[in-house]
C-alpha cells in the first residue's frame, strides 16, 4: 500500500503494510524520537508525536490513518530541525530548559515530554502548573517523578514570554 505521510513539513512517499502502525513507519524512516516506543499499547506515551499539533501515541494509529495529517516528531524541535536531534547546533528553548533543570535522566521519555510540552506552549505560553501536568499526563516517566519536567516547561514558558513579549494565552 502506497502512502504519502507529511512529517515535519516534508512529504514522505512510502510503501507500508496496512496493519503497520505509525510508530513502526516512523522507525523505518529513521525518526529517532519514535525509537522510544515502549509499551506499544497506548499506555507509556514514549512514542508521542504531534498530529495536527496535538500529542498522540503513534502506536495507537495505523500509518494509513495518519495520511493527510501533519505529523511532527522530536526532530522538529531543535533550532536546526534538518540536522536532527543529536546533530543539532543548538537546542530549542524547551530542550534547553529540560537540560538546565535536570529533567533528562534516562532520557527515554524526554522526546515525548518535549513534544507534549511543545503542543501546550504553542497554544498557551502562560500555563498553570496544573495545565502543564495535564499536558504531560500522556507520558510516563519513571525517573523524575515529573517535578523537574514540570519545572522545565514552566521555565521555558517564562522564557518564551520574555522573548516574545507575549504574556497571554493564544487567541482562538
Amino acid at each position: 500500500m502506497n502512502l504519502n505521510l507529511r512529517i515535519n513539513q516534508k512529504d514522505y512517499p512510502i510503501e507500508v503494510r496496512p496493519e503497520e502502525k505509525l510508530l513502526g513507519v516512523l522507525r523505518q524512516l529513521g525518526f529517532l524520537g519514535a525509537k522510544s516506543g515502549g509499551c506499544v499499547k497506548g499506555e507509556c506515551g514514549a512514542c508521542t508525536v504531534l498530529m495536527d499539533g496535538n500529542p498522540i501515541n503513534s502506536c495507537m494509529l495505523l500509518a494509513v490513518q495518519a495520511q493527510g495529517h501533519d505529523i511532527e516528531t522530536i526532530e522538529s524541535a531543535g533550532q536546526h530541525p534538518s540536522q536532527g536531534w543529536k546533530k543539532t547546533d543548538g537546542y530549542s528553548i524547551l530542550q534547553q530548559a529540560f537540560i538546565e533543570s535536570g529533567s533528562v535522566q534516562c532520557g527515554y521519555c524526554t522526546p515525548a515530554m518535549i513534544l507534549a510540552a511543545k503542543a501546550l506552549l504553542d497554544k498557551n505560553s502562560d500555563p498553570s502548573e496544573a495545565e502543564v501536568r495535564d499536558a504531560l499526563s500522556g507520558v510516563l516517566c519513571r525517573c523524575t517523578a515529573y517535578v523537574k519536567p514540570v519545572q522545565a516547561v514552566l521555565a521555558a514558558a517564562e522564557k518564551i514570554r520574555s522573548l516574545t513579549g507575549f504574556d497571554g494565552k493564544a487567541s482562538d
Binding site: 503494510r17 496496512p18 496535538n54 498522540i56 495507537m60 507534549a116 500522556g138
Partner: protein, 256 residues
C-alpha cells in the same frame, strides 16, 4: 499476500461507507478512529477508514448534545464543558489517549470499572448503533454490545450539572467505587455507580437520598478489588458527597 492486495478507502459519507461494506462484506473492515490495539485480520482485502465520513460531528440542539462516534474523548470533554467529567476522564486517560481514542472504540472496549463510563451513564447517555436507526440507552448497549454493531453516535440529554466522586488506591488508579450524579434539564437526578467490572444498574432519585437504593444495587458487587460490604458503605458516602456537590453548585448558579 495481504499487503499486496489490500485496498484502502476513505469514504466521505456513511452512505458511501455502507455501500463499500456491502460490496466487500467480510473482506472489508471499518476503521473507527484511534484505538489501543489496531488489529487487522489476514483475510481482509479492504480497509474502510471512516475518518472523513462525517462521524466526528459535534452538535448541540434543543434535545442536548449529539456527538459522532469518531470524535475523540478530548472532543467530548471540550463539548460537555463539565469540570467533574474532565476530572473523571483525567483519572482514566492521559492527554495523548484523550486526543486519539475515538468514542466508538472507547465504548467497544470499556467496562463497568471505567469512571468515564460511570459519568456517561449518569448523564443518561443514549447511543445510535451502525446497524440500527433508533437510539438506545448506553446501559443497554453495554449489556448487549457486539463487535459487529458499534456505536456511531452518542446523544446526551440536556444536563444542568454533574458531580463525580470516587475512591481508588491512588489518585490515578481506576476507582474501586465511583458515583456520578447528574441533574437533567427536566429536573430529574440520575445516579450511576461504577468501579466494578460488571455493569451496575443506575437509578433516578425520587424525593429520597438514594442511600438504600445504592446499598441495594451494590449488594453483590464483590470481586478481587473489594467486598460488597465495603462498596456499599463507601458508595453511600460518595453518593452523599456527590449530591452535596450538586446542590452546592446549583446554589452557586442561582446566586450568580
Amino acid at each position: 499476500m495481504t499487503e499486496k492486495t489490500m485496498q484502502y478507502k476513505r469514504p466521505t459519507s456513511m452512505d458511501e461507507a455502507r455501500a463499500l461494506k456491502q460490496q466487500f462484506g467480510d473482506k472489508a473492515k471499518l476503521l473507527f478512529g484511534g484505538t489501543f490495539q489496531p488489529k487487522l485480520e489476514e483475510e481482509l482485502e479492504v480497509l474502510i477508514d471512516l475518518q472523513k465520513a462525517g462521524l466526528d460531528v459535534v452538535e448541540w440542539n434543543e434535545s442536548g448534545l449529539q456527538i459522532g462516534g469518531l470524535a475523540t474523548l478530548k472532543s467530548l470533554e471540550e463539548s460537555l464543558e463539565l469540570q467533574e467529567f474532565s476530572e473523571a476522564l483525567s483519572i482514566e486517560y492521559g492527554l495523548n489517549v484523550r486526543n486519539t481514542l475515538s468514542l466508538t472504540n472507547f465504548l467497544a472496549q470499556t467496562n463497568g470499572r471505567s469512571p468515564v463510563l460511570c459519568c456517561l451513564l449518569g448523564l443518561n447517555a443514549r447511543v445510535v448503533l451502525l446497524n440500527r436507526n433508533e437510539e438506545i440507552l448506553l446501559a443497554t448497549y453495554m449489556e448487549e454490545k457486539t463487535q459487529e454493531d458499534p456505536v456511531i453516535q452518542i446523544r446526551i440529554p440536556e444536563v444542568l450539572n454533574l458531580a463525580f466522586e470516587s475512591v481508588a488506591r491512588s489518585a490515578k488508579d481506576l476507582p474501586i467505587v465511583c458515583v456520578s450524579v447528574a441533574k437533567s434539564g427536566d429536573g430529574s437526578v440520575h445516579v450511576s455507580v461504577g468501579g466494578v467490572c460488571k455493569l451496575i444498574p443506575g437509578f433516578t432519585l425520587k424525593n429520597d437520598d438514594g442511600q438504600e437504593k445504592i446499598k441495594a444495587i451494590l449488594a453483590n458487587a464483590e470481586d478481587e478489588w473489594a467486598s460488597a460490604e465495603y462498596r456499599q458503605e463507601v458508595g453511600a458516602v460518595l453518593l452523599s458527597r456527590a449530591l452535596l456537590k450538586l446542590h452546592l453548585e446549583a446554589g452557586l448558579q442561582e446566586t450568580k
